[in-house]
Chain length 381, copies 2
């Protein structure tokens, strides 16, 4: 479909592709000019960041102390605010994360421990949050992630705290019962599952193919909408989508990307059983950080031995009275007494700022165990 032709003289007939070479050349020159400016600014930014570092070193702080999650969150929020495109917020945030990562890594790259092996969602979370200029250290167990950070061998750790398979969550929460480490960030990887295929509706489906975990995440939906239809485990969702493209009667469960990549119809969307099918990770470190302006706080507390029905409600009253939103609550056995529970609660706000500060003071008085596990910036994209 050739569009309206430009009136540029076609001098170079010899050129195999009929591109208006002069146009392309002038665009490229403009891009080269822009790149030169970007390049200068990147190095200027790195120089200023180095000065910040030098002034911190002069005060006896270590390189790992240069990383300020609250500052990074602010930089990224500002970038989203001022973004007018055409680059999408997602791309801009990714580029600025990488720029900060490169500037920070000038002295000594941050070491970040995570639950390995390499190639896992946990590693994705590390790179999404810290950029690619860090040293990501794979650990065999969640416990080891905590140990490496506590011993100072790693500057930070990234551990899963909520995911759809659930296996690891409790382990992470239980670690906080024993560990003095602080939560200093969160990372979210959202996962939506869709039913994809070449067919136009459910009746034409004779088998559903996907990675075992994705099949498990959509079990209820499949039981309800495709009872009796064979389910086949594939090595990956991408592999499943490819089969759906090549085999008659095969549908795949996979993400939006797979539909586009393999040219499949979206037969049913968001079929995951849990609407919040997000894997959420916590960043753990050795010290607390300042407020970023949009923060979350994770609390650990217990009512003690009294197990009267109104205990939890009474404990939560100070939060309600101070208008604090609670975004999550989990209970776990305290491991001290039978039927004694501890609660992990996520609330909005930073522990050092009103109104959360006052609410926590009141809560503290009533709880037998009370700890702020950390105040940290809400995940930016």
């Amino acid at each position: 479909m050739p569009g309206p032709k430009k009136k540029t003289a076609k001098t170079k007939r010899a050129q195999p592709k009929a591109t208006p070479a002069a146009d392309i050349q002038s665009f490229r020159e403009r891009i080269d000019g822009i790149d030169t400016q970007i390049h200068q600014l990147l190095n200027e930014r790195a120089r200023v960041a180095k000065q910040v570092g030098a002034s911190k070193v002069a005060q006896g702080l270590h390189t790992a102390d240069f990383y300020r999650p609250e500052r990074e969150a602010q930089v990224l929020r500002k970038a989203i605010e001022r973004n007018e495109g055409p680059l999408r917020n997602e791309e801009i945030v990714r580029l600025f994360r990488e720029i900060m990562s490169a500037c920070l890594a000038q002295e000594e790259p941050l070491k970040v421990a995570f639950l390995g092996p390499e190639g896992t969602f946990s590693q994705q979370a590390v790179l999404k949050h810290f950029g690619h200029s860090v040293r990501a250290l794979p650990m065999g167990e969640i416990r080891e992630v905590f140990e490496e950070v506590q011993a100072g061998h790693a500057d930070f750790g990234v551990v899963p705290v909520e995911n759809s398979t659930e296996g690891t969550v409790n382990h992470t929460l239980d670690m906080f019962l024993m560990s003095p480490l602080k939560i200093c960030g969160e990372v979210e990887l959202r996962i939506h599952q869709h039913l994809l295929g070449k067919m136009s509706g459910l009746p034409a489906i004779s088998r559903v193919c996907s990675h075992q975990q994705s099949l498990a995440q959509c079990r209820q939906w499949l039981d309800e909408h495709l009872p009796g239809v064979e389910r086949i485990a594939a090595s990956s969702n991408a592999e499943a989508a490819r089969r759906a493209r090549d085999e008659d009667g095969t549908a795949a469960i996979a993400g939006q990307t797979a539909a586009e990549v393999y040219g499949l119809n979206l037969i049913a969307h968001d079929i995951e059983d849990r609407p919040d099918n997000t894997t959420r990770f916590l960043v753990i470190g050795r010290k607390p950080f300042d407020a970023s302006g949009n923060d979350k706080t994770t609390l650990l507390f217990s009512a003690g031995d009294t197990q009267s029905p109104g205990t939890l409600h009474r404990l939560l009253t100070p939060l309600a009275q101070n208008n604090i939103s609670m975004t999550r609550i989990e209970s776990r056995p305290s491991r001290k007494h039978k039927w004694d529970y501890v609660f992990f609660i996520d609330v909005q706000g930073h522990a050092s700022e009103s109104p959360l500060k006052e609410a926590l003071e009141a809560l503290k008085k009533q709880a037998s165990l009370f700890r702020v596990l950390g105040s940290y910036p809400c995940a930016v994209l």
Copy 2:
């Protein structure tokens, strides 16, 4: 170790950390200003890139055609040339790759097939070469990477061609015998192995721990320098380095990074048996590209049935006469006749430019089979 104190008045005693807050604040404001400029330039670059795209669409080209490996190589080489630091060339190249990746992905992200699963070196090679704004599609076999590209389901493919374990190389070369695809890039991931430990020399080592592949890559060196010392396979080199830190008498084979991360001594460096312990990948696509100014060409040819001793020498004469450097030669059975071989040769230069152009014309006349598999930019970092 507090350094020389600045004379800034410490007004804010309440602040827990003794940072000269005013200094930090002014640095941060400067960085915010720089970020705003970078941001504007990134979007301006994206707009110009979009115009280039629009002008190509107007000529009936597809989005996948916007990717120009020779242009990308030129942009990166210019960036290295003008780089004065403090950001290292490696970081600058990485950032510009990501910027180009984001600009290119505005319309529709490139789809790149690779030998999966995710988390492999092949995936690393895809992301290193194309940046993170592509859709990386894991395939189960090298053959499938070729098929996906040939069918147009993927825009490009990335396949290993040389690696230390060797298993996959021949398979890739053999695919080129049948496939019409063109080589349009190369990616190098260099791997150096070191012997690391807490001890200061070889006599104190009672066991060597590493990933099985790394142990295999250093077998000769170990046989020679540490005969009879136990070799233990670990799940990763990082795991091995951790054991070397925690266990007396254990040394690890791992990269430079592990020495820094785990605080180990470098007992012996570059102990890999092959000095060129680089995994090299080829980027494959459906069409050839123009010269970038520093290119390589891969040729496939055969002398035919005559197996007289001087055949290969005679075939290579036109290259020598035209002063063409040959960087690599591999022979493979032609699969047509017994003892009939084909040769894969890498030479410097682009097939469309002198002196390679003339040399190839002469070579072509003498060979029974002759194909230019591709001319492509030499790997940039």
